[in-house]
């Protein structure tokens, strides 16, 4: 089945230790998104790619970076995680026709 995959599902990192989350898709969608979701809140868009065109949301901290080496893969790098970065990180994709979004299962990040 075509799908969006995120690894790892759970990630524990230490304060200040860089961490990378990964997302892959078999849907061949050209738009990929990264969201941060904290408890009892709606997902908050961090950035998105339209093909290789990177778009950063205005309020995304500089501590967050992203890479999309090809259509299938996208990475979220947190350079120096703080306690406030503990959250669920969701990856989504959409095609350029309808922009219907498909989400991966998420990575729950804990910062100790």
């Amino acid at each position: 089945d075509a799908m969006v995959i995120q690894n790892p599902r759970y990630q524990v990192t230490q304060f200040g230790k860089p961490v990378t989350l990964s997302c892959s898709q078999t849907l061949n969608h050209n738009v990929m998104y990264w969201y941060q979701q904290k408890s009892s809140q709606a997902p908050k868009l961090l950035f998105h790619y339209y093909d290789k065109d990177f778009n950063n949301e205005a309020d995304t901290p500089d501590n967050f970076q992203s890479r999309r080496p090809n259509t299938s893969f996208c990475f979220l790098d947190i350079r120096s995680p703080g306690l406030g970065d503990a959250a669920m990180y969701l990856c989504a994709t959409s095609g350029s026709g309808s922009y219907e979004q498909y989400f991966g299962p998420g990575t729950r990040l804990t910062v100790t």
Binding site: A42, L90, Y99, Q101
Partner: protein, 108 residues
Amino acid sequence: GIQVEQSPPDLILQEGANSTLRCNFSDSVNNLQWFHQNPWGQLINLFYIPSGTKQNGRLSATTVATERYSLLYISSSQTTDSGVYFCAVPGGSYIPTFGRGTSLIVHP
């Protein structure tokens, strides 16, 4: 930007009851999605419904785009329906704006 409001914010039901969740949006849209976030955090697509009515088992959705609202109906609710329901509409081309969600608890 576009505003999205969901109601009610919280809903508690007994198993077997029916419910209606509402999503209001402030501007015309050309697509709308309903999601269910399960207890493990995954957002599951329920409906992609820019207009009209769709049904999938016990769930159905209606979007009246001209009046800027969408409704999600859950009939004969089950404990597995518990979770948070989000609607999302495009704020600008392919960038969605999410509502704050409706948290549903279904008791056995």
